[in-house]
């Protein structure tokens, strides 16, 4: 289980790593504006899929991304991507020599160009001939056909961000860096763009580093999660694993919940339900129009899980699973406890009052039933 806090490889083995992304940065801000902030990371990241860099504001996640892009220069930095060195003690590739795409938090379109002019700016400079159909594919993926001729200032916030993502893709990057691409948008715009990002993650082979402070975005998009806290990596691992832990105070809040990967194995047309099999635990969810056999990701919030000592047939709850108590952790709210539970092969978290904990006499290792009130399909 790769839940190590910081990787402790030595330099020699790093230099020979031909796979994955290796990032090590030490950066100290000395100006008074952000006095005391230091970034200290030493990470090896997977070379494919979406890696979310997740944390509260001020945790250093944007600074980490900017260091990787070369927009900020760490006093000590090493960055290597698939054996290609971007920065070490002697080398510092300027940003424009790094084969990356970058999507900024706020709209970053060039205001003196049209939407298409912005895309052409990237195409001209990518240094790689544009493969046939890529342009059409990207335009289609981001759904921006109708706004291409518009001046970039005329676009809505969501459209601007979709054009900016398309522009970053057309540079044909080896890695796509996204710095809270949805943070500057209101919730409706976020919901408008999220499906495009989901399409992106399933179509694109390019690895994506996605900085975010939103649990929802991370749960929907990420394969791998790096949890940042005070300029350091608090924990990292597969998204299911990171969110099934209660180690970091960041993970203990009203959003606490677990993510399960599963597959739709049965459709119930009479009740409009789908059965999802998640590593040996079957769940009934509302039929969202997904097809049989499709891989899905579901999220179960801790507040939607309750515990019973016996199997209750006489309940409106559809999903009941046998579980074993792994640990009981204090919530921020003194009345509440978070209980980590083991299902067949997954982890589940339930949020209960301490009174219930005592009433059910919960202790580590106790076996009982979890009732899951609601399961959200996140993808």
């Amino acid at each position: 289980m790769p839940t190590n806090n910081t990787t402790t490889e030595n330099t020699e083995s790093i230099e020979t790593t031909e796979k994955g992304l290796y990032a090590k940065f030490h950066l100290q801000h000395s100006n008074t504006k952000s006095s005391g902030f230091a970034l200290n990371v030493d990470l090896t990241l997977p070379e494919s899929g979406v890696t979310a860099i997740f944390g509260q504001s001020g945790s250093g996640k944007t600074t980490l991304l900017r260091c990787i892009a070369g927009l900020e220069r760490a006093q000590q930095g090493h960055f290597m991507m698939k054996g290609e060195i971007w920065q070490n003690d002697t080398i510092f590739l300027p940003t424009h020599k790094r084969p990356l795409g970058y999507v900024f938090q706020e709209s970053s379109l060039f205001t003196h160009l049209t939407a298409k002019g912005n895309l052409d700016y990237a195409i001209k400079r990518s240094g790689i001939p544009l493969p046939p159909n890529l342009y059409e594919q990207v335009i289609d993926l981001m759904g921006i056909e109708s706004v291409l001729a518009h001046n970039s200032q005329q676009l809505s916030g969501g459209e601007k961000q979709r054009v900016a993502i398309a522009r970053a893709l057309l540079i044909q990057p080896k890695i796509l860096l996204m710095d809270e691409p949805l943070a500057s948008l209101d919730n409706a715009r976020k919901q408008e763009i999220l499906p495009y990002l989901e399409k992106l993650r399933s179509t694109l082979k390019t690895p994506i580093l996605y900085v975010s402070h939103s649990v929802e975005e991370v749960m929907r998009l990420a394969d791998h999660v790096v949890l940042m806290q005070d300029g350091k990596v608090a924990t990292q691992g597969h998204v299911e694993e990171v969110f099934s832990q209660l180690k970091s105070p960041l993970l203990v809040n009203s959003d606490t919940g677990v993510i399960w990967q599963g597959k739709i194995i049965e459709q119930d047309d009479k009740w409009h339900l789908s059965k999802v099999s998640c590593a040996g635990s079957d769940l009934w969810i509302r039929n969202n129009g997904d097809t049989l056999g499709q891989n899905v990701r579901v999220r179960i919030l801790a507040t939607d899980v309750s515990l019973t000592l016996t199997y209750h047939e006489d309940s409106s709850i559809l999903n009941r699973l046998p579980v074993k108590v792994l640990e009981i952790v204090a919530d921020k709210d003194p009345a509440m406890a978070l209980v980590r539970l083991q299902t067949k092969q997954n982890t589940l978290i339930a949020r209960l009052t301490y009174r219930s904990v005592e009433h059910l006499a919960l202790t580590e290792g106790k076996v009982l039933w979890a009732q899951i009130k609601s399961v959200a399909l996140v993808r």
Binding site: L71, T95, L100, Y102, F104, S108, F110, Y121, R125, I171
Partner: protein, 227 residues
């Protein structure tokens, strides 16, 4: 209408102002760029030096330039080394003096326009593989264009309107340093009010039209710089 010497003065003024504007755009742009983006402690002093001609009497500026460009001044010794002789009371002496005199009128609008662009568009361009020259020509120039146009107009008109510095450094040599403002002064001294009137009226109309054009241009664009 206008005498031959009046026409000569107008032509000379135009030549001086055009030359100075071109030179100022070339040297003012890097200065403005540096002032807009540096975090150096020298930003304050350099900015103040550039702005000095705004507040100094032209005679003070002219006086020091006269000394510097004279046979014993550092510019004068340099030009003598190069075999050009000394610059005071020549066309190029006038150009050098005018460049200093009009510098703030060119640097400040460009500096403001570049500051208004901010860091972000340049960072974006860098992530799109644009090197520094590419970024300057494809991002900074188009976004700061209103600032550059304002700078060129102000540099040109301010040079047309100078008088004190010309007298100190250029004197009154026909075809060399006798620009319109000096010519008007000569007419008045010789009590040729008629001719002074004509030239003065031309100056007023020219300046008014240029400023009118500038302000209506700036109203279309944001004042001084890019949006």
């Amino acid at each position: 209408m206008l005498s031959a010497s009046d026409l000569e003065a107008i032509w000379l003024t135009f030549k001086v102002a055009t030359t100075v504007t071109v030179i100022l755009l070339l040297i003012g742009t890097p200065i403005a760029w540096w002032l807009a983006r540096t975090r150096s402690r020298l930003k304050g002093p350099v900015g103040a030096i550039v702005a000095l001609p705004l507040v100094l009497p032209p005679t003070v500026l002219g006086f020091y330039l006269l000394i510097a460009m004279g046979p014993n001044g550092f510019i004068g010794q340099l030009t003598q080394e190069l075999g050009i002789g000394t610059l005071p009371f020549t066309f190029w002496g006038l150009i050098v003096a005018s460049v200093f005199y009009s510098l703030p009128f060119v640097v400040q609008p460009i500096q403001n326009a570049i500051e208004a662009i901010g860091e972000r568009p340049l960072e974006v361009a860098a992530t799109l593989r644009a090197g520094s020259w590419d970024r300057f020509f494809t991002i900074v120039l188009p976004l700061a264009k209103p600032g550059f146009i304002t700078a060129a107009i102000l540099g040109f008109t301010h040079t047309v309107g100078e008088f004190g510095v010309v007298l100190m450094i250029g004197g009154n040599i026909p075809g060399q340093t006798r620009v319109v403002s000096v010519q008007i002064y000569d007419h008045v001294e010789a009590l040729e009010y008629d001719q002074a009137h004509k030239l003065a009226a031309i100056m007023v109309i020219f300046s008014f039209l240029v400023l009118l054009g500038l302000y209506s241009f700036q109203r279309k664009n944001t004042l001084w710089g890019a949006k």
